[in-house]
């Protein structure tokens, strides 16, 4: 039966909860210095809405694992045909996964979504459009800079993803500083031309050294 992989952790880390995607029982597969949390699933729902519900269950398992210790999260859905191939994968990637676990140990991730809030008039010319875009980009860049300054003494790493008139910053902070990080954002004076949404803490999935196309790693 196919296996759905949730996360990799240190061997001693307990499973945070008992049930995973599609109600499947969670299992642990241990190698010498790694453990994988997975469950056996017959299939995933075809219906997008139901599949989204299962993605939330997947998220809950990762959050429970994160509450219990350090985890390297996998994206939804990471499937393996059987436990033999899962163990082969873990063996082949054990050095990298162990390094990653050490790097993000006792760390949390917060996501900062910056967007400009300038609805209304449609630009009447190309020049007007370009000016508007330049203005939005400048506002986003200014807000980014404020966030970096705000957490300069706490942040251990940043990953930035840029989009049109918006930007997402992933920041890696020590778990001991989660409350301080949240408190600083709550006390931040809102920028006049941007909206900031801060999400977290959650597992440092943006810092696990995988597909970072389009991202800037600082």
């Amino acid at each position: 039966m196919p296996l759905l992989l949730y996360y990799v952790s240190a061997p001693a880390a307990p499973i945070g909860q008992a049930e995973g995607v599609c109600g499947s029982p969670l299992k642990h597969s241990e190698l010498s210095d790694l453990a994988a949390c997975y469950s056996e699933i017959d299939s995933l729902p075809q219906d997008p809405a139901k599949l989204a519900e299962e993605a939330v269950r997947f998220f809950r398992v990762q959050q429970a694992g994160f509450a219990a210790g350090c985890i390297v999260p996998f994206r939804f859905p990471s499937l393996f045909p059987d436990e033999t191939l899962l163990r082969e994968f873990l063996l082949s990637q054990s050095a990298e996964l162990t390094r990653t676990l050490a790097r993000i140990n006792a760390m949390s991730q917060f996501d900062i979504r910056i967007s400009t809030d300038q609805p209304g008039a449609t630009p009447q010319s190309g020049t007007q459009y370009l000016r508007s875009r330049a203005s939005q980009s400048a506002a986003v860049a200014k807000a980014e800079s404020r966030c970096r300054t705000l957490l300069a003494d706490i942040a251990r790493d940043w990953v930035v993803r840029h989009g049109p008139a918006r930007s997402t910053l992933h920041v890696l902070v020590p778990r001991s500083e989660e409350q301080e990080t949240a408190d600083r954002f709550r006390a931040l004076v809102p920028p006049s031309d941007c909206r900031l949404v801060i999400l977290g803490p959650w597992p440092p999935g943006a810092f696990v050294g995988t597909d970072t196309d389009g991202a800037n790693h600082d």
């Binding site: 196919p2 992989l5 990799v8 995933l44 075809q46 997008p48 809405a49 599949l51 989204a52 993605a55 939330v56 997947f58 998220f59 990762q62 959050q63 994160f66 509450a67 219990a68 210790g69 350090c70 390297v72 999260p73 996998f74 994206r75 939804f76 859905p77 990471s78 499937l79 393996f80 045909p81 994968f89 006792a106 949390s108 991730q109 996501d111 809030d117 992933h170 778990r175 989660e178 949240a182 954002f185 709550r186 931040l188 809102p190 920028p191 941007c194 909206r195 900031l196 949404v197 801060i198 999400l199 977290g200 803490p201 959650w202 597992p203 999935g205 943006a206 696990v208 995988t210 597909d211």
Partner: protein, 73 residues
């Protein structure tokens, strides 16, 4: 290590929900974490081979995400 609270949302500026939405969660599980590339060949009951394209599954979840986004805007 002490158990951590549920993730929260802090909105700096006007408007917005203070709870983590389904959209936020989907964005997190689809865009964050280790990626395993490629397709899988799954044997069911030792007989049939089923080719599961991970991209097809991801596309399905993306469809749900975009549907949610369009409802929110």
């Amino acid at each position: 290590m002490a158990a951590k609270p549920e993730p929260e949302v802090i909105v700096v500026g006007e408007g917005g929900d203070s709870e983590v939405s389904l959209l936020d969660i989907l964005d997190n599980v689809l865009n964050s974490g280790v990626v395993i590339h490629g397709s899988l060949v799954i044997s069911l009951a030792g007989v049939d081979l089923v080719y599961v394209g991970l991209n097809a599954v991801l596309t399905s979840v993306e469809t749900a995400r975009k549907h949610l986004e369009s409802k929110q805007t």
